[in-house]
Symmetry: C2
Subunit: 238 residues, 2 copies
DNA sequence: AACAGTATGTCAGTAACTGCCATGTTGGCG
DNA sequence: CGCCAACATGGCAGTTACTGACATACTGTT
């Protein structure tokens, strides 16, 4: 995240002065934008409004964010770490699902430790709630993460990069994680003091229970019974 | 889809003359738009271009499609049927996953029977491939279907409408179905005569095999072992 | 102190999209 | 047949998102 092209040593924090300013204005624009979005909605907020409120020219705004909507997410996503962690676990021999779930659990536990970041995340979640244009951005971004994670995982498992099975597994695992995250947000908003990790753990447990209950003989993603390679009569014939 | 407000009998095809014209111009705009998109790309195609090529005014264009991108999808989605079918199966006592997979398999088999529709679907798929704005539309639409299906299924199962477990299951099942669809498209483009249903069946079979192989003692979505309700030590506690 | 690199602003221009009003066109109904 | 209500379309003006080109200022380095 902080890595640059020509710095010999991977220095940690001593950011360039310019860089620091750039980040400052970035955050300033972001905060002003979120404020206005919350206040009047995305559609009713013009770029000129945001620029004026942030003390910059509209032209400069577009040098920081590709679109109005992008200004809502200045997020330095923790997801890069999640990908790396997952791949490391897989290379260490962990099954795919275990690696994914553990990594999510770890990230969530980490989030549970920083109440400050919670509020920011909540704010964005609530903001995006009723704004289709923002939801679209988030969903597309989710898809990108899934794709990246699937490709890396497949390679780490010694499978082709576009392996369908791995993609399906990643979609399932990440889907559950996102549901937990949303639920956690809802709970917090309702005043209930749930932890993200707890919500996630409970969802996973309920999922296994649900599958056991729905298909007692063999819980799992695929159709019950049958041999690979041909459609099994039981399941989707008729 | 054809149902109207004030027609006493649910007449089948005798569409209003006006209605028919409207559908004609809709399709005309759609086809012209897809053609131009394929030819020069979405970004390089203006609404004025499309309107001119379709013989209408730009103003009229926006009375048919909300945005330029929407013109790429005049689709009369078969998904309404899929939802209904799934819910019926659930109410008939089928487990959720079975109902979902069977409905998808049915829809796919149906698609396999109409070579004409194949080409159209392929064209759109290929078109959307490299166009981020189109992908975004599709992904959002997918999300809508998931949400609708999850809500209906949950209610049909006697669970709360926003039940997380059901949502997770629907996301997983639909995710696999979409992967199969995309793969099928890829195969067809490569000249291989695969059937959609076959591709889907194979993916499902491979999925069960994969989970068996990855977690021999108990394949499934959730963490291996452990009792519901509390985090199991095995899995995500380091 | 000069210089290269970068951040910012101004300006002009394109194109998406909307509201308003005027003009046809269609489908009943007396 | 002729009138009328409903609807489809076009033209126009206006707002807003976004981009390229150019000029100017600021930063960090030698």
């Amino acid at each position: 995240m902080t890595a640059e092209k020509d710095s010999p040593q991977p220095e940690d924090l001593p950011l360039d002065l310019r860089e620091r300013r750039r980040l400052d204005t970035l955050r300033e624009i972001h905060e002003v934008a979120v404020g206005l979005f919350e206040e009047r909605g995305v559609a009713a907020t013009t770029v000129d409004d945001i620029a004026a409120a942030a003390g910059i020219s509209p032209r400069t705004f577009f040098r920081y964010f590709a679109t109005k909507e992008h200004a809502a997410f200045a997020a330095e996503s923790d997801f890069r770490d999640l990908v790396e962690e997952t791949l490391a676990k897989i290379r260490g021999g962990a099954p795919l699902f275990t690696a994914l779930q553990d990594s999510w659990a770890r990230l969530f536990a980490q989030i549970d430790e920083r109440p400050r970041q919670h509020d920011e995340a909540m704010r964005l979640r609530r903001l995006a709630e009723g704004e289709p244009t923002l939801i679209a951005l988030l969903v597309v971004e989710d898809g990108r993460l899934d794709a990246e994670l699937a490709e890396g995982s497949a390679l780490a498992l010694g499978r082709p990069a576009d392996d369908l099975v791995v993609q399906a597994a990643v979609i399932s695992a990440n889907g559950a994680a996102r549901l937990a995250y949303r639920e956690w947000g809802r709970l917090r908003e309702a005043g209930e003091p749930a932890t993200l990790r707890g919500v996630y753990a409970r969802l996973l447990a309920e999922l296994t229970a649900f599958f056991r209950e729905q298909a007692p003989e063999e819980p799992g993603l695929g159709p019950r019974g049958g041999s690979p390679g041909s459609g099994t009569t039981r399941g989707w014939a008729t």
